[in-house]
Symmetry: C2
Subunit: 341 residues, 2 copies
């Protein structure tokens, strides 16, 4: 199984570490012998059709900043799109940063990957939030799989719970806390009695929030995840423009105090019902959704099995890398079933 | 797909209602055309090779107490074992009550079902807790599937989350609240400030606890579920005798009050780690496991994806019936893959 990895930040590097660490188990237990034939980062690419030396590449990335510095396999002037078009591989892992304006460069990478017959695994929410219905069609048209477990919940299998474990049931609605940064901020405000601006600054100092925190606190990250769940779990053909979005900038300590009097609190909730909506809502502290700190929590309301809630850390390099690995197994399993026909 | 249903209490009847209600969807969406060829209850059996009239059977059960009273298909003198041996079917659904002393009559039903080539779906914890490793071997030996989603968590897909959604990861430990009755009792004690005996009486009056509540409050029900999870999710070959078990009879209101001072509380926790153990433990009220009332909650600690908690109602006729239906789909899917080879 030949893999091209585009985007080599924390998640991409964690995935490679996982490969090294679990190489024998992948082969013996899952019949997976992944060979990384190309990696692309901001500085260029490293390419080797017989498989890159993963240990060496990790070391070069760490010490020299770009895989293109590899003395044997580095190509500083090779772009992601050239690699995707020219290098033969079965799988493209797209792990560049999320951009919700136009989905680039991820969107082009994914489309080019599909058109050249590669199965796609992505951790990039932007292209999915903007174009998931079209990308699903394009995948079908090209006979490839598109998987993205790591985009919702990091390593917590939220998408799989909804799609695989509740099979046979009908999911009527979904609601959840899908963004750890805003949950951390609201929890700190409540528990430490501080205002929004101070809690945001703390989150930034700890590295939970970006310098430009808008993607998180204005609700866009939650909205992207709603779009992905609505398409994958509920079969709705929606994109980001179909989501009503409000963030948490205007929430004051006083608002939280008022809710606390009735043993309630305020959380940024994304919901899929008749429509898709992100907004701060009051919820009971007894509600399983009411999780503290940076946790994520999602409740599925199903017609027969009742309400199920899944809770987990919604981010993390190794966690998200483990989701990529689950996607690899899933694609492998589907392909094996197909070849058996 | 011909089905024999042995045990026709709340769960069995809910399953039949689900069949009636969703008949068209089963066929169109999942290619399932289940035909109930026999039902056995305490009063005898109803048998019809071309398929029982499910609506009529439900009515007769309700009005006359036993399916054997059916004027066309009823057989008051036919036993479950005779039906399992003599009636041709692909699936045996075993839904008689749990007995943890010797697993009977369920254990014999399941073994006879396997020996006559039937796939087994059961909601009966007794035979599994006492003999799951042997039953798994027997299923393999006879080339049949054994499924039991409804035995842990009712409709909440706890077993599937552990086995299907965390595939590729390594589950290091599991802990959880697996019994709604004890959780209800402990929650009532804490919130209403009452002693164990009063809370137990309330649970009995509301029908949450049996007249003989030992199975729940002495921890045996939780222990059975641990055994099932340890075998199915973690591949441990254990039975009920491998579990260290303590219940909640000795927990006083004062114990709970003492824990509450530090924002903690006491829950009956089942855990799988080095060994299997059921005992009351103090946990933080911030822990996702700390759910109120009759809810169940299970935390999986996995090596790479982190900690995931799933929460849901752990019982209910329709919920458990929906788990049987998931098992039917799972068996159908496995068989289709096999026939395709």
């Amino acid at each position: 199984m030949r893999i091209i990895l585009v985007g080599f930040g924390v998640v991409g590097q964690s995935f490679l570490k996982l490969l090294v660490f679990r190489h024998n188990e992948f082969a013996s237990k899952y019949g997976l012998r992944p060979r990384i034939v190309a990696i692309v980062d901001r500085g260029g690419a490293a390419v080797n059709g017989r498989g890159l030396d993963v240990d060496r590449i990790l070391k070069i990335k760490k010490e020299m900043g770009s895989v293109s510095k590899d003395p044997n396999d580095g190509s500083p002037y090779l772009s992601a799109n050239e690699v995707i078009e020219k290098i033969e591989a079965e799988i493209l892992i797209e792990a560049t940063p999320t951009n919700i304006k136009d989905g680039e460069p991820g969107l082009t990478h994914i489309k080019k990957g599909m058109k050249t017959g590669k199965h796609i695994i992505t951790t990039n929410k932007g292209p999915l939030a903007l174009a998931l219905p079209a990308l699903t069609d394009l995948a079908d048209h090209n006979g490839v799989h598109l998987r993205f477990s790591g985009t919702v919940g990091g390593g917590t299998p939220i998408l799989d719970l909804g799609r695989k474990c509740l099979i046979g049931d009908r999911i009527l609605s979904i609601k959840g806390i899908l963004n750890g940064t805003t949950n951390y901020i609201l929890t700190e405000m409540s528990e430490k009695g501080i205002e929004f601006e101070s809690a945001l600054r703390m989150a930034q100092e700890l590295g939970y929030a970006e310098k430009d925190p808008s993607l998180d606190i204005d609700g866009f990250d939650t909205a992207c995840k709603l779009v992905i769940m609505a398409n994958w779990i509920m079969g709705k053909k929606v994109t980001l423009k179909d989501v009503k979005i409000a963030g948490i900038r205007h929430i004051t300590l006083r608002d939280l105090m008022n809710y606390a009097k009735k043993d309630n609190t305020i959380k940024l909730i994304g919901s899929i019902d008749e429509g898709l909506e992100v907004k701060p809502r009051g919820i009971s502290k007894r509600d399983p959704l009411c999780v503290p700190g940076g946790l994520n929590a999602v409740t599925f309301v199903s017609e027969f099995a009742g309400e199920e809630t899944i809770i987990g850390r919604g981010a993390g390099g190794m966690e998200t890398a483990s989701a990529i690995f689950r996607d690899l197994i899933d694609i492998k399993t589907n392909l094996s079933a197909k070849f058996r026909i």
